[in-house]
């Protein structure tokens, strides 16, 4: 049974009109109202064939004119338009020249020696940047150089949707069902979207080419030229570094030797998913080390298999509960119980001391003396940003957060930007930070692409993230969601109708934001007398749904939407405002937590 909750979305009323017309983004989902930017970042892709009339209808209905432009905005856009028209003229001239050019396809070098836009890394941030550049700069030629053999794809389904697929061939197809029942691939675009690398300088209207399986090993910032692992050199006009990160390993495991390493998965890529999926069918026991997003999601995914196939799934981590660094303690504890109900043997407060092979199995020894016997280990203990190029490029690496240090406009140096997991950037509202979530890769990649084509905009639109822990617990979040901050959580008691699974089931394949589900009054918690002395919540208190505010002084810097959906715009607004609030229950009212 696919968990339709795993991808939440909402569409504007105008989107409803062309719901079936497949005029939908490959990276993001629209949010309500003025066709602004996304909440969850997974949706179907592809474009209608009968584009003409559908698009006319779309534009007529979907256009939003928001008043007269300020001088600054008008001037910038006027320049954009002029650049647009001048580029179109250039392309027309160039295409005429092409007919006269002697450059026959056979004579083209395998890799161009120069590209206007070079993107180092082939993940989500790079793809978002490529799309942004192409949208803003007509005829742009963009080269992505990726160490990965795969074309750009999205990671979240690797630890969520793909595990819940009914398709026995899912490890080959890498397709999953979205909230609306529509299937899509984890790849952002099929191969036909991309231009062959050797044709990139010559193709009439430019395009995006992906050079797979090649690593950039040296960067000469003065000469604007990079060198690949095979010695190839490519010069560029503008460059984006979107190298992402590599999974961290535990020192105890690194010391342990090859026999242990062979029974270890450091989960990040498609091949890790394929390998772990196969292993999960072959072994009797898997232990996940790590209690954060990835570890908990994988634990729940494997826990599902535990029940159907008799696989033992253990999850161990140093914190007191799942998501211990993200959720306040009471919620982390509650979440841990939920994960246990998904079939996982959760062992909190567990620090690994050593790992060894014992017979044909692994023996994990914890610092407190406990021992765990298992067949395979998945380590989900964090991400190390890939900053190897910093040395040759002379770029600064941040000592607090890791990653390349860039300014608010994601720029490291002239002509060099950084986006995605590897970027340590200045967030005007929240301060310097580095974010390892999918939507941030999309948002920062797009922003970098805009700035590489002259926009000079700072990071402003807050990215969000989400997680699901089985069909009954899901949340979306935005901003600084750090459990060390003081929090205020406002909850309503959940009824059966409030879980993500039931919300979508009740409305069939309908979009949850459009769901006609009547909101039932939630059962009311009342104490007949109001005691001025704060009491500890009773055992088994039900944190079914609500909103949690994370505070710095009295300012809300982070928000978790707990089992309530389609409220991201108001959450984003509150963080953007940066106002001091005395009574957060009043702020919570804005979220309508009692209704669906």
């Amino acid at each position: 049974q696919i968990n339709p909750k795993l991808v939440s979305t909402h569409l504007s009323p105008t989107q409803k009109i062309q719901k079936d017309k497949a005029f939908q983004p490959d990276l993001e989902i629209l949010q309500c109202h003025h066709l602004r930017c996304p909440s969850r970042s997974l949706t179907s892709s592809g474009v209608p064939g009968k584009a003409g009339s559908n698009l006319l209808l779309y534009l007529i209905v979907g256009g939003t004119v928001t008043g007269t432009g300020a001088y600054y905005v008008y001037r910038t856009l006027k320049e954009n338009k002029e650049r647009f028209t001048s580029r179109v003229t250039t392309i027309t001239t160039r295409s005429q020249e092409k007919e006269l050019s002697p450059s026959a396809p056979g004579a083209r070098p395998e890799v161009p020696s120069h590209v206007p836009f070079l993107l180092i890394g082939g993940g989500t941030a790079a793809f978002a940047a490529a799309r942004s550049i192409r949208a803003r700069d007509p005829g742009a030629r963009v080269l992505i150089v990726s160490e990965d053999p795969a074309l750009p794809y999205m990671r979240p389904p690797l630890s969520k949707e793909l595990w819940f697929s009914d398709d026995p061939n899912v490890t080959e197809t890498l397709r999953f069902k979205q909230w609306n029942g529509k299937e899509r691939s984890i790849y952002f675009q099929p191969p036909s979207f991309y231009v062959p690398v050797r044709d990139l300088p010559f193709v009439e209207n430019g395009g995006v080419a992906v050079l797979c399986g090649k690593k950039v090993v040296h960067m000469d910032v003065r000469g604007n030229i990079v060198k690949l692992s095979d010695g190839t050199q490519i010069s560029y006009d503008k460059c984006l570094i979107a190298t992402g990160g590599s999974p961290r390993n535990l020192p105890a495991i690194e010391r342990a030797g090859k026999d242990v390493q062979q029974r270890l998965t450091l989960f990040r890529k498609i091949e890790d998913f394929k390998s772990l999926e196969k292993i999960s069918r072959e072994v009797k026991s898997i232990t996940i080390i790590g209690g954060g997003f990835l570890g908990s999601e994988l634990a729940c995914a494997l826990g599902r298999r535990a029940r159907t196939r008799g696989l033992e799934v253990i999850q161990l981590f140093p914190e007191n509960g799942n998501m211990g660094k993200v959720l306040p303690e009471y919620l982390s504890n509650w979440t841990t119980e939920k994960v246990r109900r998904e079939g996982v043997n959760v062992m909190p407060n567990a620090v690994v001391k050593s790992v060894s092979v014992c017979g044909n199995r692994l023996m994990i020894k914890l610092k407190d003396g406990r021992k765990v016997e298992t067949d395979h280990i998945v380590a989900a203990v964090g991400l190390e940003p890939n900053v190897e190029l910093a040395k040759s490029a002379g770029l600064e690496v941040d000592s607090d957060f890791g990653g390349f240090r860039v300014n608010a406009e994601l720029q490291a140096r002239s002509n060099i930007w950084v986006a995605g997991d590897a970027a340590c950037f200045y967030d005007i509202k929240l301060g310097r930070r580095r974010v390892e979530h999918h939507d941030h890769a999309v948002v920062s990649g797009r922003l970098a692409g805009e700035n590489m084509t002259g926009a000079a905009k700072p990071y402003w639109h807050q990215s969000m993230f989400w997680s699901d822990l089985g069909p009954n617990v899901g949340y979306e979040a935005i901003g600084l969601v750090d459990s060390s901050l003081p929090t205020v959580g406002v909850f309503a008691k959940a009824t059966a109708k409030d879980t993500p699974k039931s919300a979508t089931e009740q409305s069939g394949t309908g979009i949850r934001s459009e769901s006609e589900t009547e909101a039932e009054a939630s059962e009311v918690h009342i104490s007949p007398s109001f005691s001025p002395m704060p009491q500890v919540p009773k055992q088994g208190e039900d944190y079914g749904k609500g909103v949690i505010f994370y505070l710095r002084d009295k300012v809300v810097v982070g928000i978790v939407l707990w089992n309530i959906f389609n409220r991201m715009p108001i959450a984003r607004k509150i963080i953007k405002d940066g106002e001091e609030h005395d009574d957060l229950n009043e702020v919570a009212k804005l979220f309508n937590i009692h209704e669906e």
């Binding site: 005029f23 983004p25 007269t68 909850f491 007949p528 405002d577 702020v587």
Partner: protein, 150 residues
């Protein structure tokens, strides 16, 4: 057991606990139905930093709108932009009637990339969830065959 709502409606309150540094509030539906006293800052519609929708404040098309997906950036991006710009700025009585050539060029381009721009007919558009809008790299043709049966 919690008492029924009606018997204690005068005593409906927000119940609040502190657990260390974290405050937990259980709020009733009735409490949240009263208007919020929280103040929000008025938005500036001309804020240059804000993400824009499909149409920019000055009336131009925002090609980078996420709503356009890959349309403006794919292999037929230029044809798409050309057709759409023409339509957008068209002042004909039947808007866009002077843009037939551009739309035809766009159609012709899109037909060359069937797995990017699937050619749907009217009947298929009416089917809701069985459509496969995007083929995988591995099985472009197989997916099309499966379209009706998924």
């Amino acid at each position: 057991m919690t008492p029924p709502v009606s018997a204690f409606s005068e005593l409906l309150l927000v119940v609040s606990y502190m657990v260390g540094k974290d405050r937990i509030i259980f709020a009733t539906k009735e409490d949240h139905e009263t208007p919020s006293s929280a103040e929000l800052v008025a938005d500036d519609p001309d804020d240059p930093y804000e993400e824009q929708g499909l149409i920019l404040p000055n009336g131009d098309i925002n090609w980078n709108c996420p709503c356009l997906g890959g349309m403006a950036s794919g292999p037929c991006g230029e044809q798409f932009k050309s057709a759409f710009s023409c339509f957008h700025y068209s002042t004909e009585e039947i808007k866009g009637s002077d843009c037939v050539d551009q739309f035809r060029a766009m159609q012709e381009c899109m037909q060359k990339y069937p797995d990017l721009y699937p050619q749907e007919d009217e009947n298929e558009e009416k089917e809701k969830s069985s459509k496969d809008l995007e083929a995988t790299p591995m099985e472009a043709s197989a997916a099309k065959e499966e379209k009706g049966s998924s």
